[in-house]
C-alpha cells in the first residue's frame, strides 16, 4: 500500500522516526484510568459479595430453597469435600478454585477463591464498602465521559461505525484472526471491531449500573419499573453477574490486543496521548 507512505509527513526515507499523532484527548485518558481502577476493584469486591450467597436465581425472589441456575458449592463426597460448580444441568469439579479452595493455608467453603476477591478475606461488610465507594467512582466517571464524549462528538466521530466500517466487518474479522493490525493511515482511526467493542463496553457499564441499582430495595421504591424490565431482583442479580463476566471478556481481549499492537506504544498513547503510527515497512 503506497498510500500510507504518501500520507506520512515528508521525512528522509531511511529515518527511524515514525509519524506521531495525538491520539487520546486528556479527558479520555483520565477517564480510562479511573474506569480501569474502578472496574478492577468492583470485580474483586463483587466476587467477595457473591461469596455471601454463591448461587444465582432468576425471577422476583430466590433463596437456598429455590432453583438456582448457577452455583458454587462445597459438597461432601466419599472422597472428601469437593468444590462443585453448577451451570444449568452441568456440574464441574472445581476443587481448589471454585466452591472449595484454600484461604490462609486451609481449605474452606467459598465461592470465589481468596486470591480473586477484594478484600482477600471473606468479609461481606468490608467488600460492600469497597464496592459501593467504587460504584460511585464508576458512575460519576462514566457520566463525565459520556457528557464530554457526546458534546465533543468523540463518540459520534471516533466510535460510531461509518458505512465503510460496516462494509469492512468481514475483512476486519479476518485481520483480527490473523493478528494483523492496521498500519499507516488506517491505524490513525479505530477499526470497526474496536468501535463495536468500545461501544459495547459503554453499554455494559450502563447495564452494570442499571442492574446494580435494581438490586437496591431503596431504589426499587423510587423506580419499580426497573424490576419489571429485568424480571425481578434475582434476575437483576444474575444479569449483574453476566454483564460483569462480559466486562471481564472485554478486558481480556483488550489486553491481548494492546500487547499484539505494541504494548509500549499503546500504553504510552493512553498515558501521554502520543501515538506512533505503525508504518507499512516500519520494521
Amino acid at each position: 500500500m503506497t498510500t500510507d507512505i504518501q500520507a506520512a509527513p515528508m521525512r528522509p526515507a531511511a529515518g527511524p522516526r515514525r509519524d506521531t499523532i495525538y491520539r487520546h484527548a486528556f479527558l479520555v485518558r483520565l477517564t480510562h484510568w479511573v474506569n480501569a481502577l474502578a472496574i478492577f476493584v468492583l470485580i474483586g469486591s463483587g466476587l467477595n459479595i457473591f461469596n455471601a450467597y454463591p448461587r444465582l436465581n432468576w425471577g422476583k425472589k430466590g433463596d437456598m430453597f429455590d432453583h438456582a441456575w448457577a452455583s458454587l458449592d462445597a459438597v461432601q463426597t466419599a472422597a472428601g469435600m469437593r468444590g462443585v460448580t453448577t451451570v444449568g444441568p452441568f456440574h464441574f469439579d472445581t476443587t481448589g478454585f471454585l466452591g472449595w479452595s484454600k484461604a490462609d493455608g486451609d481449605f474452606t467453603a467459598r465461592g470465589w477463591p481468596q486470591w480473586l476477591t477484594i478484600p482477600g478475606s471473606q468479609d461481606l461488610a468490608d467488600a460492600r464498602h469497597w464496592h459501593f465507594f467504587f460504584a460511585w467512582v464508576l458512575a460519576i466517571n462514566a457520566l463525565i465521559y459520556l457528557v464530554w464524549s457526546l458534546s465533543s462528538r468523540h463518540i459520534q466521530r471516533d466510535l460510531w461505525p461509518t458505512g465503510g466500517d460496516v462494509k469492512s466487518i468481514p475483512r476486519s474479522i479476518l485481520d483480527h484472526l490473523r493478528l494483523r493490525h492496521p498500519v499507516g493511515e488506517a491505524a490513525k482511526r479505530y477499526n470497526v471491531l474496536q468501535r463495536f467493542a468500545y461501544l459495547a463496553l459503554i453499554l455494559l457499564v450502563a447495564g452494570m449500573i442499571f442492574t446494580g441499582l435494581t438490586m437496591s430495595p431503596g431504589f426499587n421504591a423510587f423506580a419499580p419499573w426497573m424490576l419489571d424490565i429485568l424480571g425481578g431482583r434475582q434476575s437483576a442479580r444474575s444479569l449483574h453477574f453476566i454483564f460483569a463476566s462480559l466486562v471481564v471478556a472485554f478486558i481480556v481481549v483488550h489486553l491481548i490486543e494492546v500487547v499484539l499492537a505494541g504494548p509500549i506504544n499503546e500504553i504510552r498513547s493512553i498515558v501521554t496521548g502520543r501515538y506512533a503510527v505503525p508504518r507499512e515497512h516500519g520494521r
Binding site: F40, V41, G44, I49, F50, A52, Y53, R55, N57, K60, K61, G62, D63, M64, F65, D66, Q114, W115, L116, T117, I118, P119, G120, S121, D123, L124, A125, D126, R128, H129, W130, F132, F133, A135, W136, L179, M215, S216, P217, G218, F219, N220, A221, F222, P224, L227, R233, Q234, R237, V252, L255, I256, V258, V259, L260, P263, R283
Partner: protein
C-alpha cells in the same frame, strides 16, 4: 511481526494478566488498606452519598413494590436467630406470648406499654413484600401489623427525636465487633424518622395470615420495607425514641452496624 513474536506476545499477555489477577488483593494491598482507619473512613463516605441520594429520591415516601399471593415464598428463609431461647422467652412462647409487652418510651410525651392483644386490636395494615438479605437472596412474605407511625403518634414523639431504636429478645453473640472487642450480642436496630413514619413500616404480628412463628420473630417484629433484611429486627419488646444512638451498645445504631455493616441499608 513474525508469528513467533506474536506467540511470545500472547504468552506475555496471558502471563501478565495472570499476574494481575493472581495478585488481586496483594497487588492492591486491599487487605492492608481495609485495615487502615483512614481508608475505611474514605470508603465509608459512600454510605452518606447513597443515603442522601436515596433520601432525596424517596422524599415523597414512595412505597416498596408489593406482590401477589402467588409470589409468596413457600419456604421463607429464617436468618440470624431462629429461636432466642432462654427461660424467659421460652416461658412467653409456652404461654403464646399473652404476657408479652411492647414498650414505647424515650423521647415521647405519652409512653406506651401494650400487650399483644392490645396491638391486635389497633388498626392494621397487610402487605406482601420482598425481603432482601444483605447476603444477596430474596424471599417474599405477607405481613400484618400495626403501622409504626400510628404507635409513634399515639406516644406523641417529641420533635427533637431523630431515631427509633428497637430492642430485641435475641442474643446473637459470637461475631466480634469490627476492629474491637466483643460487644453485648443483644440484637437491636434503629431507623430514622422518615422510615419510622413510612406507611409500610410495621410492627408485624402475623406472617402469611398466621401468627408470627418463632423463626420469623414471634411475637412482634419490625418491617422496614425499603431497607435490607438486617434492619427488620425480630422479637421486638421495646422501642426507644432518641436523638442519638452513640451511647447504645457499640454506638453504630444496630447489631450488624456494630460489626461493620451500613446503618443506612437501602442498597
Amino acid at each position: 511481526m513474525t508469528l513467533i513474536s506474536r506467540r511470545a506476545a500472547l504468552a506475555g499477555t496471558a502471563a501478565g494478566a495472570g499476574l494481575i489477577v493472581a495478585g488481586c488483593s496483594k497487588i492492591t494491598g486491599a487487605d492492608a488498606l481495609t485495615g487502615s482507619a483512614g481508608f475505611r473512613r474514605v470508603l465509608a463516605a459512600a454510605e452518606g452519598w447513597t443515603r442522601h441520594t436515596q433520601r432525596f429520591l424517596l422524599g415523597g415516601g414512595q412505597l416498596a413494590p408489593q406482590y401477589n399471593p402467588a409470589d409468596l415464598s413457600p419456604n421463607f428463609k429464617s436468618n440470624g436467630t431462629s429461636n432466642p431461647g432462654g427461660a424467659e422467652y421460652d416461658g412467653h412462647a409456652a404461654r403464646n406470648f399473652v404476657d408479652w409487652r411492647l414498650v414505647v418510651d424515650g423521647m415521647v410525651a405519652h409512653p406506651l406499654n401494650l400487650s399483644l392483644a392490645e396491638m391486635r386490636a389497633l388498626p392494621s395494615r397487610t402487605q406482601i413484600t420482598r425481603h432482601d438479605c444483605v447476603e444477596g437472596w430474596s424471599a417474599i412474605g405477607g405481613w400484618t401489623g400495626v403501622p409504626l407511625g400510628l404507635l409513634l403518634k399515639a406516644a406523641a414523639v417529641v420533635p427533637a427525636a431523630r431515631y427509633a431504636v428497637f430492642y430485641c429478645a435475641d442474643n446473637l453473640d459470637g461475631e466480634p465487633v469490627k476492629g474491637g472487642e466483643q460487644s453485648p450480642g443483644q440484637y437491636y436496630e434503629s431507623i430514622g424518622m422518615a422510615d419510622a413514619f413510612h406507611p409500610q413500616t410495621l410492627i408485624a404480628y402475623a406472617m402469611n395470615g398466621a401468627p408470627l412463628d418463632i423463626a420469623h420473630g414471634a411475637p412482634l417484629r419490625l418491617r422496614v420495607e425499603r431497607q435490607l433484611g438486617y434492619k427488620h429486627a425480630k422479637y421486638v419488646r421495646r422501642i426507644e425514641l432518641v436523638d442519638d444512638f452513640k451511647a447504645i451498645s457499640d454506638g453504630k445504631g444496630g447489631y450488624w452496624e456494630d460489626r461493620g455493616y451500613e446503618w443506612y441499608a437501602g442498597i
